[in-house]
């Protein structure tokens, strides 16, 4: 018990020994080497009694790399017959710079059958989706959920920002009506 008090709330640096593995498991921000749990971050130790683990809450900036299950916001680049290439600039609500490249396959656009990818995405659109696979050559995204899809789109005739008007994407400048696979949050997604 005395040990527990000692291990809590301590400012640590990378490599600092926190416990032996028999005492505590390794939590977030720690690593194990030679049967010892050590800190991997600059931060403060946090002790979890339930899992008997020790974690380090980092004081330095968070690092974001694409991982399976993350919500990503991306700009659509080139749209081909079977897939669209995208540049991911936001992961789990955090901006990343420079962008990571990703791909959206036609089968991942909606739960239904998509015959033509141009009916769902266009170059320049901003899409929100979930990362489903990072083990292939590119980060694969899926839009197959009402939450996901295009959040901002531009008119392909005049370039105006399309507005959702009674279920139809209409250009306020030229009146053109377009089709996209829109997300529930179309036009309201906060990107700042």
């Amino acid at each position: 018990m005395a040990k527990k008090h000692e291990i809590e709330e301590k400012e640590v640096f990378p490599g600092e020994r926190l416990a032996v593995i028999e005492e505590y498991n390794e939590g977030e921000g720690t690593y194990q080497s030679d049967g010892e749990v050590r800190s991997a971050e600059i931060g403060v130790t946090r002790h979890d009694g339930a899992t008997r683990s020790v974690a380090v809450e980092k004081k330095t900036p968070e690092i974001t790399v694409p991982e399976e299950g993350m919500v990503a916001v991306a700009e659509v680049g080139s749209v081909a017959r079977r897939d669209a290439r995208v540049n991911i600039f936001m992961l789990n609500g955090r901006h990343i710079h420079p962008t990571y490249s990703g791909v959206i396959h036609i089968s991942d656009i909606s739960r239904d059958y998509t015959k033509n990818i141009d009916m769902a995405l266009r170059n320049g659109d901003t899409v929100k989706g979930r990362i489903v696979n990072v083990k292939n050559r590119l980060n694969q995204m899926s839009l197959a959920d009402p939450e996901y899809g295009v959040v901002y789109a531009y008119c392909s005739r005049c370039g105006g920002l399309l507005e959702l008007d009674r279920g139809r994407l209409t250009c306020p400048d030229c009146g053109r009506v377009e089709r996209r696979k829109t997300a529930r949050s179309y036009g309201k997604e906060e990107l700042v």
Binding site: F13, P14, G15, Y31, E41, I42, P61, Y100
Partner: protein
């Protein structure tokens, strides 16, 4: 052993009893070191080091997507270090193009720092470390590693340990720590060492010149002692930035989070 060498040198050096280094330091004394972290607002992490008359700035970017993509690895990230000397860092002026020496030191730095990182967490990504020598005074590779390690920690990249680095060598028959430019060029031998202080592991060991096995071993030990001293200075620099106080004292925490943002907005 050391006694006999000392006697020899006293004979050589006319009448003076005690041998002194060119800059008046003790044999096991480091040059004055000053480290600052977070000096480049647009970098993810950065550090500035003054080690004697060395002046070095290091910036860390990433992990980010690697370009060209064919050099990235699908199962792990890549650490890319760039060591570069400014044309005005030495006298006479030097060409700004990366030389053979620059490329080698870049590689040596990468190899020295890589064991401290968890690169397997960043597949297909790269961590870029740019090191610029503003003023050189011997032992720049060690000082660069020190600055790069602080910059990496400042970027929030998880590390197994900070990397500390220091050289030792032989000058006029004496084993000395942290060679300056003159001692480096005119001495008998030079041993740069990079060290993970908390894991007690050596990640860089080079040697130039001639020494006996016994002397080499002593030199390595000397350099490791120097690395341990530098480690404390590196920690101080990071503590200062992240508002940390010594564990034993009362805590009055004022962590300045993402403070470079303000500076960036002013421009």
């Amino acid at each position: 052993m050391s006694k006999t060498t000392k006697k020899k040198t006293t004979k050589r050096k006319t009448s003076k009893k005690k041998w002194t280094r060119v800059d008046g330091r003790k044999p096991d004394e480091l040059r004055p070191i000053h480290i600052e972290s977070g000096v480049i607002p647009n970098a993810d992490g950065s550090a500035y080091i003054e080690m004697g008359r060395n002046k070095i700035i290091a910036g860390v970017y990433g992990p980010r997507e690697m370009h060209p993509k064919r050099f990235s690895k699908p199962n792990m990230g890549i650490l890319r270090c760039r060591y570069h000397m400014a044309p005005f860092s030495v006298d006479p002026r030097r060409s700004p193009a990366p030389s053979r020496r620059d490329k080698e030191i870049s590689m040596v730095m990468t190899d020295a720092i890589e064991p401290a990182l968890f690169l397997e967490r960043y597949p297909r990504s790269v961590i870029d470390v740019f090191v610029e020598i503003i003023e050189a005074d011997g032992g720049t590779r060690c000082a660069s590693i020190n600055a790069a390690a602080v910059a990496l920690a400042d970027a929030g990249i998880p590390m197994k340990d900070l990397v500390s680095s220091c050289a030792s060598g032989k000058y006029e028959g004496n084993l000395i720590l942290d060679l300056g430019d003159y001692e480096d060029k005119n001495g008998e031998s030079d041993v740069p060492v990079a060290y993970l202080p908390k894991n007690d592991q050596v990640t860089l060991l080079q040697m130039e010149g001639i020494m006996t096995q016994d002397e080499t071993e002593k030199c390595i030990e000397l350099a490791i002692e120097g690395c341990k001293q530098i480690y404390e200075i590196q920690k101080e620099a990071l503590k200062k930035k992240y508002g940390m106080v010594e564990a034993t004292e009362e805590t009055e925490e004022a962590p300045e989070e993402e403070e470079p943002v303000e500076e960036a907005e002013e421009e």
